[in-house]
């Protein structure tokens, strides 16, 4: 009977070994891109948008970069940081990918960054926007091709004060890092331009019934700045209208409150909503028109900024790989090339990285309008080439703490 036990043990070991690492000759094979995003759970639809964008980008290149085939390995991280870390290990250690991308939530971004540095495998962040990832806690191997949460808010705050001439604004935002940063950036520049944030409300992430918060909103304000995401974006505008607020206080907000991901599910209640973002499907350039048309033909919907940023990420990887002659195995050189990429004609407009590794790109102020029966984010103003620091000096900007629930403090509440 000992023999039997030993046999079983041996078979167990062999089974493990069979699933072991690939042999070294795999190096000359395809360029492997490891993608992870939420493919199940509440944010699965966003994950799908991201993956669609990436795949469309690669398809346009015929799945070939610099003469090498491209292989994408897709992993579901369920939008959870612990799962994301496990998938990162899998993609790097088991699949031996040469470049990583994907990821949706800010906390996943913070969890992955130190590990990515440890592995020394470049990872593009097309969506994860947490400010500090390219500010106070930057990671060498993370290449952010997306945006920082407060990047669109900075020019928007001043614009609201000067162009819309609102004096007093109430903010209602999801109570987590992304919400704080979007509101913080807005408050900073809005108040510097003479405006006043007179009340800040923080519903928890995932709130769907806003009645208690809507009841609190000060009626003597000029407008309400809302930052909603996902399921909350779907419900907030309707409840805002039903509470009779839309007629009294115009609704403005962060880009995700009205992004292309939620617009198809919204109705007249969203019309007139003004928000800034790095992208609008309604941008009037040939590059974007073609992108929107083909994306629609392929996936039957209007691309969201999630799709655009991942589409551009594919292009980004390809440009960098071409710059190193396809030799992505030289990781240091590949990383340097990734940081040097400039894309003059992305759907969202020209993009290149600043010295801190965050894109300098256009910020679009968009108003929701109905055109031919559909809701679109019409671009009403464009700020060209905005960096994450906007008009501030980086060294001075970095001296202030990262935006939080209590910073900037609410002086006029």
């Amino acid at each position: 009977m000992m023999v039997r036990t030993l046999w079983v043990a041996l078979i167990g070991i062999l089974a493990f070994l069979a699933a072991g690492p690939d042999p070294a000759w795999a190096q000359k094979g395809p360029i492997k891109i490891g993608f992870q995003g939420p493919m199940t759970g509440g944010a699965a639809a966003v994950g799908k948008d991201m993956l669609n964008g990436l795949m469309m980008g690669l398809e346009e290149m015929g799945h070939q970069i610099a003469g090498r085939k491209v292989e994408v390995i897709v992993e579901d991280n369920q939008g959870r940081p612990d799962v994301a870390l496990t998938k990162l290990r899998k993609l790097v250690e088991s699949d031996k990918v040469q470049v990583l991308t994907g990821g949706l939530f800010a906390h996943v971004g913070y969890a992955l960054a130190p590990k990515v540095d440890e592995y020394k495998v470049p990872m593009l962040y097309p969506v994860m926007a947490a400010d500090d990832l390219t500010q106070r806690q930057s990671a060498r191997w993370v290449v952010r091709t997306g945006w920082t949460s407060s990047q669109p808010s900075h020019p928007f705050g001043e614009w609201v004060a000067k162009t819309l001439r609102y004096k007093k604004v109430v903010t209602v935002a999801m109570d987590y890092a992304f919400g704080w940063e979007v509101v913080g950036g807005f408050q900073k520049s809005f108040e510097e331009a003479g405006g006043q944030v007179v009340q800040k409300l923080w519903p928890p992430l995932g709130t769907t019934d806003f009645a208690p918060y809507l009841a609190q909103i000060r009626r003597d304000a000029d407008a309400v700045f809302a930052l909603m995401v996902a399921a909350s974006s779907l419900r907030f505008p309707k409840q805002y209208q039903d509470a009779g607020l839309k007629a009294r206080l115009p609704l403005i907000g962060g880009g995700t409150t009205f992004d292309e991901f939620v617009l198809p599910s919204l109705g007249d209640e969203a019309i007139g909503g003004i928000s800034p973002l790095i992208y609008s499907a309604a941008i009037d350039t040939p590059a974007n028109k073609r992108f929107v048309k083909e994306y629609r033909a392929k996936y039957g919907k209007v691309p969201s900024y999630y799709s655009e940023t991942c589409y551009t990420a594919a292009r980004w990887i390809s440009e960098a790989a071409k710059a190193v002659g396809g030799n992505v195995e030289d990781k240091e050189k590949f990383l340097a090339a990734l940081r040097k990429v400039e894309i003059p004609d992305a759907p969202r407009g020209p993009v290149k990285l600043d010295a801190y590794g965050n894109p300098i790109q256009n910020i679009y102020v968009r108003r929701v309008e109905r055109k031919e029966g559909e809701l679109w984010n019409t671009v009403i103003h464009t700020f060209p080439a905005v960096s994450q620091f906007w008009k501030y000096k980086p060294e001075e900007f970095l001296k202030q703490p990262v935006y939080s629930r209590d910073f900037p403090p609410c002086k006029h509440c």
Binding site: T5, Y110, E118
Partner: protein, 324 residues
């Protein structure tokens, strides 16, 4: 079941856990490490669910408390391993001691609901007490412990043995407890609370001590979990984690200690290996749970011992099952 065959099986399993890792790929090794840590959590829950008959739906709270202790102490104060370990386990114990006072006023479904609510309290704290926990962002950059050994625990293999050490420690403590008269009376309480009370046992106190021990060992799992991931966030404390721990115990087999550990390994590997092939992996996982409940209500351990008794008590446990 003949105790001798059981011992041989156990020995072979341990031998496998000790000698096979150097031959594994580093990814499988990290999965195995994860399975060991979840194994500790599942075993500690087994003391409650399996031995005492208390279905706790808030066991992630202790994992979370242990993990957050590590996160705060190491990143903010640069605390060493032993101090962090002691504090992490102690804090979990204190939390369990407080929660036990509240939860043990009820039994059955009510106990389930109260532990669920208490677990959500810890989740709420993790989420909203931003100055301490950094809220939704979580605490990142937790360094791997430095034990002054020649092997750096930053590498997967030494860390695996480190986790194995923690696992064996937890297994040994729990084994001693369930074999002791105290453990036997817990089983007695599970079988008939009123009879135990009539016999003069302080039922409440027994349950309370069991509850605190389970929480404390859950804290140990949390400490290892934080070091393993180098990161802790409210997602670790979510209801989903508590539910998963319950499923591990059910899948592995209640009141068998090692069963839940095997259940933990099965779930960790199923999740990570199946999800590679299909995004419908949740469906497969669900089917496995339902299959277990219908065909093997006593879990993997139950199915194994049934198989053995059918074969007339012949020795030789099918080890491959444990690693499947």
């Amino acid at each position: 079941m003949p105790p001798r065959s059981r011992l041989i099986g156990l020995g072979a399993l341990l031998l496998l856990l000790v000698i096979s890792p150097p031959f594994l790929s580093s990814y499988l090794l990290t999965l195995l490490t994860q399975a060991l840590i979840y194994g500790i959590l599942a075993m500690s829950l087994d003391l409650l669910l399996g031995y005492t008959g208390l279905p706790s739906l808030g066991h992630a709270a202790y994992l979370g408390v242990g993990a957050y202790s590590v996160g705060v102490l190491t990143t903010r104060y640069g605390a060493g391993f032993w101090f962090t370990l002691a504090v992490g386990v102690l804090v979990a114990m204190v939390v369990a001691a407080v929660f036990g006072l509240v939860a043990l006023r009820a039994t059955g479904v009510y106990f389930l609901m109260i532990t669920l609510a208490l677990g959500m309290v810890i989740w709420g704290l993790a989420h909203r007490w931003v100055s301490m926990t950094q809220g939704d962002n979580g605490i990142s950059r937790i360094p791997r412990p430095d034990l002054g050994l020649p092997w750096s625990l930053a590498n997967p293999l030494p860390f695996y043995y480190f986790a194995l050490g923690g696992f064996l420690l937890a297994l040994w403590i729990l084994w001693v407890i369930v074999q002791s008269p105290f453990g036997q009376s817990l089983v007695g309480i599970r079988e008939s609370e009123s009879r135990m009370r009539t016999l003069g046992y302080d039922v409440w106190l027994h349950k309370y001590i069991g509850f605190v021990i389970a929480g404390t060992i859950g804290g140990l799992a949390g400490v290892l979990w934080a070091y393993y991931n180098g990161f802790v966030s409210p997602a670790d404390v979510e209801l989903a984690t508590s539910v998963e721990a319950l499923l591990m115990v059910a899948l592995g087999g209640r009141a068998t200690l090692l069963g839940p550990a095997v259940g933990a390994a099965a779930i960790v590997f199923l999740k990570n290996l199946v999800s590679v092939y299909t995004h419908r992996w949740l469906l497969i996982l669900g089917a496995v749970y339902i299959g277990t409940i219908v065909y093997a209500p006593e879990g993997i351990a139950g199915a194994v011992s049934e198989l053995q008794s059918k074969r007339g008590g012949r020795a030789g446990r099918p080890q491959a099952k444990a690693e499947a």
